[in-house]
């Protein structure tokens, strides 16, 4: 899968099994157990949500569940920190949109 490091001079990546999940209705493949944000990023999805007031695009920022920049709707649950939430097969992931829409 593109977006994933295959060879690295120091590290060896032990990844889980490949699973399919839905992002905005589109089917995307990712590795089970890695954070949802990693799967999205590897698939080229950088915009994770739109800000509440001005609808500005927001992406991955801190990777440690502190900054709230990556909050998304997962299986109907709002405000899930996708930089921490492990990916499972069949998850339904959606962007949260600002008040304008």
């Amino acid at each position: 899968m593109r977006g994933y490091l295959q060879e690295h001079p120091i590290l060896e990546f032990k990844r889980g099994k490949k699973v399919k999940f839905s992002f905005e209705g589109k089917e995307i493949e990712g590795y089970e157990g890695l954070p949802i944000a990693a799967a999205l990023h590897a698939a080229g999805v950088k915009v994770l949500s739109f800000s509440q007031k001005y609808d500005r695009p927001r992406g991955f920022f801190c990777a440690v569940g502190k900054c709230s920049s990556c909050l998304m709707e997962v299986d109907g649950r709002p405000n899930v920190m996708v930089c921490m939430e492990p990916l499972k097969a069949g998850m339904n992931v959606k962007r949260q949109k600002g008040q304008k829409t």
């Binding site: 490091l5 690295h8 120091i10 590290l11 890695l34 920022f61 502190k66």
Partner: protein, 370 residues
């Protein structure tokens, strides 16, 4: 509110009762604290919000330096493995994927794990919550593609995901020097490291390595704007004058899809505010830090601190602070023993050695202000 109450389940399984010491944070400081306290005989629980222990060590692919006692020549990611194995060997209880969300009356902490909120009570707490990355204000700084440097490190070294094709790094402290090198290792081009000061902030060893790789370090420059529609497409940088003002006409555009902010860290001391510990503002130590003595005890006699939470420094010093906190927390409960005195004395001695280097004067000065 009713819903919240319903969610507070009585999760106090027998496993989590009668705790002597609860350690919040399973990074280098917290793990060393746990190992020391457990080996002295305390009943210890570690709470960490990640699936694996090691904190930020798990993404550090560079080799540490210093003396052998401080894991010289060992990569951070391997130190995390060594410490985790020790935790297992000592049968130390670990609550992973769990976040401490509050410190309440009667010295109880609230823990959120898998959508369940439950209380945990220990006689003594060691906080080793670490730090979060500082943000920088510039135009479009919220655009996707602007990351904390540590976040990029996590993404490529832990998840194995490439952050982009071409990066610009803001800040030349140790993180700002190490992460671009790791970007190169992951096949990402690094256009430049931008530093507002007139000298490089981090260690010379790291700077020399990245310079040899051909990455320019632009001193007296800062970022003024991230450009792009939905994601970063370029960084606008400018030279600065003696008062760090942007010099008109010196602006340059660097094409890139990734901007890394590596301008420092701030201690995560929110829980300690709530617990009522005195928090002091000491810029040299990273901003708002909990007051603590050299025994790592705060103004509350049941709360100890260690690691980046106590003072933004290195993993090696965090581990030493952890050892002191572990030994002193055990002493607070069970009194002194020859071994506890020895461990704390040795760790304090090693800390003093590291901090006596001219490079660490800032820390010594900062600690003297507490």
């Amino acid at each position: 509110m009713i819903d919240d109450k319903q969610r507070i389940q009585n999760f106090q399984t027998p496993k989590l009762q009668n705790l002597d010491i609860c350690i919040i944070g399973g990074g280098p400081a917290g793990l060393e604290a746990a190992i020391v306290a457990r080996s002295l005989g305390s009943r210890v629980l570690i709470i960490d919000d990640n699936p694996v222990l090691g904190g930020q060590l798990i993404k550090q692919t560079h080799k540490f330096f210093g003396s052998k006692a401080h894991y010289c020549g060992v990569r951070g990611v391997n130190i995390a493995e060594i410490l985790s194995k020790e935790i297992q060997a000592q049968n130390i209880e670990v609550l992973d994927n769990a976040t401490v969300v509050g410190y309440y009356d009667d010295d109880i902490i609230g823990v959120l794990r898998q959508d369940k909120l439950f209380p945990v009570k220990a006689k003594v707490y060691i906080f080793a919550t670490g730090a979060s990355e500082n943000m920088l204000a510039f135009e479009n700084s919220d655009l996707p593609g602007v990351y904390g440097a540590g976040a990029v490190q996590t993404m490529m070294n832990v998840y194995g995901v490439v952050p982009g094709k071409r990066a610009v790094v803001i800040g030349s402290g140790n993180i700002g020097l190490i992460v671009p090198y790791q970007l190169l290792q992951a096949g990402v081009e690094v256009a430049a490291i931008v530093e507002i000061m007139d000298k490089i902030g981090g260690y010379h060893v790291h700077a020399a390595k990245i310079k040899r790789a051909g990455v320019p370090i632009m001193l007296k420059h800062t970022i003024i704007e991230a450009q792009g529609k939905e994601c970063v497409e370029a960084a606008r940088i400018s030279e600065v004058g003696g008062k760090y003002e942007c010099l008109l006409g010196t602006e340059k555009t660097i094409e890139c899809d990734t901007i890394l902010i590596a301008i420092g860290l701030s201690p995560l001391c929110e829980l300690l505010y709530q617990a009522g510990c005195r928090i002091d503002y000491v810029p040299e130590l990273g901003g708002h830090v909990p007051y603590h003595t050299e025994d790592m005890i705060t103004t509350k006699k049941n709360i100890f601190v260690c690691g980046d939470l106590a003072c933004i420094e290195e993993a090696s010093t965090a581990m030493l602070e952890g050892k002191i906190a572990g030994a002193k927390a055990h002493e607070a409960l069970f009194g002194i023993s020859r071994k506890s005195i020895e461990v704390a004395k040795q760790a304090k001695h090693e800390l003093a050695m590291i901090r006596s280097s001219p490079f660490e004067q800032r820390i010594t000065f900062g600690l003297s202000k507490l």
